[in-house]
Symmetry: C2
DNA sequence: ATGAAAGCGCTAACAT
DNA sequence: ATGTTAGCGCTTTCAT
């Protein structure tokens, strides 16, 4: 049988209460007893039963994170950031994946509710607030949205400043001397639209007209991102007036685009500069080191973790609202030098 | 306040017990009552308190998985495989990451023990059995090692047949007509050694002598894997007699090697065939589609999940022992055709 | 400084 | 077919 408080108590001829107090760091215990207890606790390898303590206190010092998928670097960074922040306050993070499925996400949330975690952090797939409004009625558990949010949610949200992503990439290329900056975007998405807005604004602010044919949507879902990058580039190269700078929605699109450009005899960065997005450690250090917008998963996670910590124990609706994390540009050779 | 069994019971003028029985699918309840209860349960959005039920039953229908990192495709596949298998039996998986840190791993294991999960699945960093021997004394919780194991562990282990990884890659290249197969391996590791053995055996079985200078170790940790692949290839190209087939420890090494080979005028696959390892969806669909050994993360996860399910409730030491999952070769253009 | 009693929400075992 | 009792391991409250 597992060691319980009672076992330690009987072993030392003390009451359960004394052991419990020692373990929770209460101060009304003599130093001598404290030492004896701690010693024996270690010897017997006592593991507290969170179920029991949770049942009594309503707390688990544990938070739950639901991600659309494991295996995605950006999401992993978010998780790492949260985990790091929580552990500073002696909270632990447990994760589960919704496998990009809306219903699975709801199920996973249900499990965390059942497990009595102290707060819920969600990189949510839900597009509406419907599910969460229902949730409000059932529980007072704090919920923090990270990186994405159902439309309409404005509180308890930590996100990336997507418009800024588009802006800094474009601004950087312009400052490197580019005049015709193309944007290879992914398929339609809210973040895609916002980055696109940042891109347009940067152009306008620099007195450059937005050219619709320099914005390429790549959405054939059968093709790999690499291929889509290649094809987008080929379309851009077929223009009468070719772009002299290219930014992309993801790093892999940039890798494909750079390859296609190289094959056509373009020199990078001399003839054409590139900026990707994601700052993927694998992809950014391939052939031509790729300038990329770091979408700051770790930062995002840390902010979200802090928000969750502040929410714990606060009556609902109190406390902090939301934060937008700024992306950072990481310059590498693909956009080096200026003209 | 959250809805409890008691609330539903009072609401319907029944006892807690009746509600509990309905929710657990006991059969000694009239259809009429069952229907009433289920209806009200849904209306009130009842969420069971696992802490309470766990305290009573000692079960949570939840298992814990500790990974060295999130964000790694192979590990994510393992997690997905486990999760899929468990959910068929109404078990749930929660995950945590040790961030490649030995002590963090032990801490995460402790949390899962505290949370009373029904079994523990570990892609463990521990190299010795020391920690787990200590664990044995504290708990009867079933532990399954996945993909890696402390030396000496032979039970409750589901792993990849690493020797076979090396063998099938080499065998495939030989069957495609290669006579001088090189192996670009990573830095030293147990799995690296085993794959190397598979490679050597395949050569020998085909009556080809192992040439030490065709085995390249790439271990400069500052460099990216891509660069290390390039450099390894350059070394191979400088040999008097160049290889006509190259296999690598990872897909990224193959991508780098292929690029270096292409730059030197080698045609792929005509002059030189390549096989990577990992079957990374991103990397295998770049420039030249890459033949790769699929290390079957999903399979591994499913087998591990099944093993864990069989272990639950069994007295320790009973039940299944271990399984080795066979890798599968996925052929693509980099090794196409024969001579 | 230490301990006794009660109860968190649930369910096993046993009535009725 | 439904309900009663007791207790899982812990902590809150209130003695001593």
């Amino acid at each position: 049988m597992r060691v319980r408080l009672k076992d330690i108590a009987e072993d030392l001829n003390l009451s359960k209460m004394t052991i419990s107090k020692v373990l929770r760091g209460q101060t009304d215990i003599s130093e001598a007893t404290r030492a004896r207890v701690l010693q024996r606790v270690r010897e017997l390898n006592y593991i507290p039963n969170i179920s029991a303590s949770s049942l009594r206190t309503g707390q688990t010092r544990t938070m739950g994170l639901v991600l659309p998928a494991l295996g995605v670097p950006h999401l992993a960074q978010i998780a790492a950031g949260i985990s790091k922040t929580l552990s500073r306050e002696k909270y632990e993070l447990i994760v589960s994946s919704s496998e990009n499925d809306l219903e699975t996400e709801q199920k996973q949330i249900g499990i965390f509710l059942s497990l009595q975690v102290d707060a819920l952090l969600l990189v949510s797939l839900q597009e509406t607030t419907f599910f969460f409004e229902e949730l409000q009625g059932r529980t007072e558990m704090p919920v923090v949205f990270v990186g994405s949010r159902p439309s309409g949610v404005t509180e308890q949200y930590v996100g990336l400043d997507e418009e800024e992503v588009g802006r800094i990439a474009c601004e950087h290329l312009l400052q490197s001397g580019c005049r015709r900056v193309a944007y290879i975007r992914g398929s339609h998405s809210v973040s895609g639209d916002m980055r696109s807005r940042g891109y347009r604004n940067a152009l306008r602010r620099n007195g450059i007209e937005v050219q619709p044919d320099l914005i390429i949507e790549t959405m054939s879902p059968q093709q790999s991102e690499y291929q889509r990058g290649c094809e987008a580039m080929e379309r851009l190269l077929s223009h009468r007036r070719r772009p002299d700078g290219v930014m992309t929605y993801t790093d892999m699109l940039a890798v494909g685009a750079m390859d296609a450009a190289s094959r056509s005899g373009m020199r990078i960065p001399e003839d054409m500069r590139f900026a990707g997005c994601g700052n993927d450690p694998l992809l950014c250090h391939m052939r031509i080191p790729l300038t990329s917008v770091d979408t700051g998963g770790q930062d995002l996670g840390e902010r979200a973790g802090k928000l969750a910590l502040r929410l714990v124990g606060h009556p609902k609706g109190k406390g902090v609202r939301w934060a937008l994390v700024k992306p950072k540009l990481v310059k590498r050779r693909s956009s080096e030098g200026s003209r």
